[in-house]
């Protein structure tokens, strides 16, 4: 197990950071934030596609760069740092991963090159209402050819072209692939806590759909997709946390109260040190997750759960304490603190809530010890 990234990966990170600093600036993020009709930044999406990021982990035979998951982790951290307003996680960590995990060759050939080229936005539709979804509670119905039911909310469901939907059929729960641009699909845009990203309620009425993976294997596949997504999202969360910490450090050095930089007060020092500790704990767990992901190791379910639990907690802490460090300024719309505070909550829920993942982590520990 190697606990650092290679020089090539670090070069990719630098390139990504420079690109995003320019193209996913606070101004660009705010353009999506302030425009109710905008679901994502199309120009940024195009740029990301041109750099090959969408296909970073997609094999060359399917139009990708054929790099590994580690490269994807590197990109994820930068995307998180930049609060990029694009459907990257939905398309890459969920949709493409599901296809690579469970897709038939024809399905991969159909979708993966288009994803890599930035021509197909994907999403993952699991949730059907408040509360953690469970295998027994899935109500969306697949009859072998068509899909009916309601999915709410679907992250990036407002701008996606295709969805992987968790639905039930006679054989049990299955994953199905659905073209969202058809008569049998109605979309309603939802207002969410993070308006820099889209979300929708999707209603399927006899929508044409096809199975992805084996019938009745959908729940296990969904869990596997979530594990992969969790390991990757952890890097977005760490990138966001790190950005919060850096903002807070910069402000604490320059802001004066009582004729001293506020960073000279231990109340602030300890706060920032706590943020750092939380990030480093999350980072180490996330590296372990990245290793497990990139080597298809059996440890992935455990490592992904640990990474996600640590990263969700770190981001929440860093986002709220960054606001606090900024005092009144931190509570304004104009200062970026709230962009992170909003995104932190979206990412903490996008692959399932922290409490659910902590429960999974302990269950997986029990399983590991029983084995």
């Amino acid at each position: 197990m190697n606990f650092d990234f290679s020089d090539d990966q670090k070069a990719l990170k630098d390139q990504a950071r420079k690109f995003l600093a320019d193209k996913s600036s606070s101004k660009a993020v705010r353009a999506v934030l302030n425009d109710d009709a905008a679901f994502f930044d199309a120009a940024l999406w195009k740029g990301v596609a041109e750099l090959g990021w969408l296909g970073a982990a997609i094999p060359e035979e399917h139009g990708g760069l054929g790099l590994g998951r580690l490269e994807l982790c590197v990109l994820a951290e930068e995307i998180g740092r930049a609060v990029a307003p694009i459907p990257f996680s939905s398309t890459v960590y969920f949709f493409a991963e599901a296809l690579m995990l469970a897709g038939a060759e024809a399905q991969k050939r159909d979708h993966l090159p288009k994803i890599a080229a930035g021509e197909r936005i994907g999403c993952f539709a699991l949730s059907e209402g408040p509360g953690a979804p469970a295998e027994a509670s899935i109500e969306a119905k697949f009859d072998g050819a068509t899909l009916s039911g309601v999915k709410i909310p679907v992250t990036d469901g407002d701008c996606a072209d295709w969805a992987v939907v968790v639905a039930k059929e006679a054989a049990g729960v299955s994953l199905v692939l659905v073209d969202l641009n058809q008569a049998g699909v109605a979309r309603e845009t939802l207002k969410t806590i993070d308006p820099t990203r889209g979300a929708a309620k999707l209603t399927f009425t006899n929508a044409k759909a096809e199975r992805l993976g084996a019938a009745g294997q959908g729940w296990a596949l969904a869990e596997a997709v979530l594990d992969r997504a969790a390991a990757l999202i952890a890097f977005e969360q760490i990138g966001g946390s790190q950005a919060c910490l850096e903002m807070a450090i910069d402000y604490a050095k320059n802001r004066y109260a009582f004729s001293r930089p506020i960073g000279s007060f231990q109340g602030i020092k300890h706060k920032l040190a706590d943020m750092y500790v939380a990030i480093e704990v999350a980072r180490s767990n996330a590296y372990y997750g990245a290793w497990a992901l990139s080597t298809e190791a059996a440890e992935l379910p455990f490592a992904a759960a640990a990474a996600r639990a640590a990263a969700s907690d770190a981001y929440y802490l860093c986002a709220k304490e960054n606001i606090q460090t900024h005092g009144g300024m931190g509570f304004t719309w104009e200062v970026d603190c709230h962009l992170f505070f909003r995104r932190a909550k979206l990412l903490a829920l996008q692959a399932g809530s922290p409490a659910v993942w902590k429960e999974k982590l302990v269950k997986r520990l029990e399983q590991r010890n029983a084995a």
Partner: protein
């Protein structure tokens, strides 16, 4: 028995000496408010009972209509004798012990009463005016404020002076019988609809910072006052930047002696910490109800049956109740004519964080669905989400968590003060950073 009446049992404390220490014991026999007051309290409501419907309606009002409704409510409240319950009779109050205000407030909290626009003015500003001005000034302002005809704001914080509010730079220069004000205040809640404000300014930059301040009453409609609304992180526009350009204030509107502004400000701040302690969002009772109808993270049964959640809920209960009871102790001290000490700071440290924690737990318990903050879909019509987005502001407003903990450590616990860079230095020579 009505809930409000029962709560008296809790607040009737007696102090006794126990092993040389003063302790508080609750008396079993409730002290009853006068019959007339009780009847008035529970008959003929002047605001709608709290319900999802009422809140939806009040949210739908435009800011202008909400303000009109608020003024109307305040006038009726004053006419019914419920404004300024503890204030002196000369000030239009009823001179009743604070317990009566507690009872009224707990009853009022059950209604969707539009009382917000007055909380800063009547809770902090006007009491300061009463404490530091002559009869003519009180006659001019107090009754009108109490009736809701005029609204007040607190103009203390500046871009470079928040926690360190004594570093205020906005300056006042004497010109005949007037003072001329130039500078900027910021984060002024409600300045955009206020008629008057209490304004902390520097009248002498050549002495130590606490000694060169003076407090004034300022007419917010005076020439040279410019108010700009600030868009806050939670989306609303409740607070403002206020610019002063050659604004004239008659010397008559000075509160306290020139150079004594800090002492005046301390009275306001003490009231502020008492006032900014309450909970503004869903509390443990709401999440208790909510937890019955949502699945536990394990997927087995409802959240309310989840051990980890139950432990958290227990913590919220003891902190909320502990704070409430501590507040009653403060009230008891007030009713004995003692001033509430810095121990009342605990409310602020508890409430904003707890409010955020409860909101966060409720949002996360909904799993991905928790991202939806549209009132049409969200639990409690989005109240948890509003709370989540507003709580960070409450951790800062009225003294940050860190400042309040410093106050507890230094003034309550008597720990040594931080070394101070501003002792013995003239204000104009102090370092101020960016």
């Amino acid at each position: 028995m009505r809930r409000g009446a029962r709560s008296i049992v809790w607040v009737a404390f007696k102090s006794r000496r126990f092993k040389g220490r003063r302790i508080w014991i609750s008396t079993t026999r409730p002290r009853k408010p006068s019959f007339a007051l009780r009847r008035a309290l529970f008959s003929k409501p002047i605001a709608s009972p709290k319900s999802a419907e009422a809140e939806r309606l009040s949210r739908k009002l435009s800011p202008k209509d909400y303000l009109a409704a608020a003024k109307d409510y305040q006038r009726k409240k004053a006419e019914a004798g419920f404004a300024g319950i503890t204030w002196a009779k000369e000030q239009g109050g009823r001179a009743l012990p604070p317990i009566y205000a507690v009872i009224f407030n707990s009853e009022e909290a059950k209604f969707d009463a539009p009382a917000h626009p007055f909380s800063i003015g009547l809770g902090m500003c006007v009491p300061t005016v009463i404490a530091f001005s002559d009869e003519a000034t009180k006659d001019r302002y107090v009754a009108k404020a109490l009736r809701g005809d005029e609204i007040w704001c607190q103009l203390f914080s500046e871009p470079g002076a928040g926690s360190d509010v004594a570093a205020s730079k906005t300056k006042a220069v004497k010109d005949g019988g007037d003072w001329i004000i130039n500078g900027q205040k910021v984060w002024t809640t409600g300045a955009h609809f206020s008629d008057f404000g209490i304004l902390l300014v520097r009248t002498n930059p050549d002495v130590e910072k606490h000694k060169g301040l003076t407090m004034f009453i300022v007419d917010m409609k005076a020439p040279g006052v410019e108010v700009r609304q600030i868009h806050q992180a939670s989306g609303g526009r409740d607070f403002n930047e206020v610019y002063f350009t050659d604004v004239r204030i008659p010397d008559q509107n000075r509160l306290g002696e020139p150079g004594m502004g800090w002492n005046v400000a301390l009275v306001t701040l003490m009231n502020e910490r008492l006032a900014v302690g309450g909970s503004y969002g869903p509390d443990y009772k709401e999440i208790f109800e909510f937890a019955k109808g949502i699945a536990a993270p394990s997927g087995e049964g409802a959240l309310i049956k989840d051990e980890a959640f139950r432990q958290k809920l227990a913590d919220w209960i003891v902190r909320a109740e502990g704070y409430k009871l501590a507040k009653f102790r403060t009230m008891t001290a007030l009713s004995r004519g003692q001033t509430p000490g810095p121990e009342s700071s605990i409310g602020k440290v508890i409430n904003a964080n707890q409010m955020m924690d409860i909101a966060n737990t409720a949002i996360e318990a909904q799993d991905l669905y928790g991202i939806i903050d549209d009132p049409a879909y969200a639990a409690l019509e989005g109240a948890f989400h509003q709370s989540y987005m507003f709580a960070p502001g409450l951790r800062i407003a009225g003294g940050t968590d860190e400042i309040l903990k410093n106050i507890i450590a230094e003034r309550v616990l008597g720990l040594p003060q931080e070394p101070r860079a501003d002792k013995g230095v003239a204000f104009k020579d102090l370092p101020s950073g960016r």
